[in-house]
């Protein structure tokens, strides 16, 4: 019986998926993180059904991208996908450093821009995060700020309002830019 860790399975629950021409956007509804999978990562993720082995995934990559993909490339992609919580538990097949992997691609004569699986991630903003934030801000009782707004008196005392909290100025500058 084959090792199930050799057959990655993508998450289907708790994610919203949008497909673009070469990329896939995945929104993790549980962690509120959004991910953009480049072409290589997207192909691996799409075919990770819990039945297809790593070597079969490498073959799929070779056919779809016409690059000399091997199991190490797939394992690297699986590692990135698992790190982003886009695979079901137990799917992680190894740990790879990006730098080592790019060096390996160069040895094989492959451009990293073509063959490197990339998962770009952001933390989805809270509503208040996506607002204009200014030095002057309005809070009710301490720790109960309403979203920052233009021109109001700062009732956070010596603190600043950021994402609904009264924060020290340096922390507010880092988090809200205000």
């Amino acid at each position: 019986m084959s090792n199930p860790r050799n057959k990655p399975k993508r998450r289907k629950q708790g994610v919203a998926v949008q497909t673009l021409a070469d990329e896939v956007l995945v929104y993790d509804l549980e962690r509120h993180r959004a991910h953009c999978l480049n072409q290589v990562a997207a192909i691996v993720w799409r075919h990770s059904d819990g039945k297809t082995t790593v070597s079969q995934l490498a073959r799929v990559l070779r056919e779809e991208l016409e690059v000399p993909a091997d199991t190490e490339l797939v394992r690297y992609a699986v590692d990135r996908l698992a790190k982003a919580h886009l695979l079901q538990d137990g799917s992680r097949v190894g740990r790879y450093s990006r730098r080592e992997f790019i060096a390996r691609l160069k040895k094989l004569g492959l451009a990293a821009s073509v063959a490197l699986p990339v998962v770009t991630s952001i933390v989805s903003p809270t509503p208040a995060h996506a607002l204009s934030c200014v030095q002057e801000s309005q809070c009710g009782a301490a720790g109960n700020c309403v979203p920052c707004y233009v021109g109001a008196t700062n009732q956070c005392g010596t603190l600043r309002c950021c994402n609904g909290d009264c924060l020290p100025i340096s922390a507010a500058q880092n988090a809200c830019g205000c």
């Binding site: 070469d22 956007l25 929104y27 953009c36 480049n38 509503p127 204009s132 707004y149």
Partner: protein
């Protein structure tokens, strides 16, 4: 008082006949009491929660405006509000998503002075087709220290305000850095969607709608990212880029 409040309503507001509302604002105007030697606060409530208390009525009205804009942006069921500056140029929109203090308003003001149509310095309002609608509140321009504001209409800057929804023609993700030279790199549509999502008010509330709408808006559109220096160096380049892409 209602006449005074009207100027603080979100752009595009209009009266409705319904007696049922999604959110009820109450403003209790304070001020000096001639019979007693006391002053009363101006109090502002959203539904049953007090959201503001100030001796300055103008300040209270600004809070009202801010909270209303925020509520509309978060609660809109079909439109997606992304924190961005927007101008129109030859039938297409240029969108500058970004957080506060990244210089969006400065860039928008410079483009309006250069002949672009003003759409917004606060929100890019996307409809389900991915088009951008005008949200023309007065431009809120900060001074050099970033603390004080002046409000200017597009007309005061020598420009005009857009009225029709536009398809997106160019997305520029940039941040002001003193002395920087603008040498942007192209982003993929997926990465551009993430850049817009990172500034979208309803990203957590309605992520599926936000993602689908933003994806549609940046399809087949050049998307550029990079730090910029002074705005004068960038304006003509941005407009030329959109002309080339058209």
């Amino acid at each position: 008082m209602l006449d005074r409040v009207e100027r603080f309503l979100p752009p595009g507001s209009k009266p409705v006949r319904s007696r049922v509302v999604d959110r009820l604002y109450s403003l209790r105007v304070g001020g000096a009491n001639p019979n007693r030697n006391i002053r009363r606060y101006n109090l502002l409530y959203a539904d049953i929660k007090r959201i503001g208390r100030s001796m300055d009525l103008e300040e209270t009205l600004e809070l009202l405006a801010s909270d209303m804009q925020f509520y509309v942006a978060e609660a809109s069921p079909t439109r997606v509000f992304t924190h961005a500056g927007v101008v129109g140029w030859r039938g297409r929109a240029i969108v500058f998503p970004g957080k506060t203090f990244t210089g969006k308003t400065t860039l928008v003001a410079a483009l309006v002075k250069a002949g672009a149509t003003y759409y917004s310095d606060e929100y890019a309002v996307f409809d389900p087709q991915g088009r951008v609608h005008p949200y023309p509140r007065p431009l809120s321009i900060r001074d050099q220290k970033g603390g004080h504001f002046g409000s200017y209409t597009a007309e005061e800057l020598g420009g005009s305000v857009g009225s029709k929804p536009l398809p997106v023609g160019l997305v520029v993700v940039s941040e002001y850095r003193p002395g920087a030279r603008w040498r942007p790199r192209a982003l993929s549509p997926g990465q551009a969607t993430l850049a817009l999502l990172a500034n979208t008010v309803s990203a957590r509330v309605r992520p599926k709608i936000a993602l689908a709408t933003l994806r549609r808006s940046v399809r087949r559109v050049p998307i550029l990212m990079g730090a910029r220096g002074e705005v004068e160096d960038m304006v003509q380049t941005v407009l030329s880029l959109l002309d080339e892409a058209a």
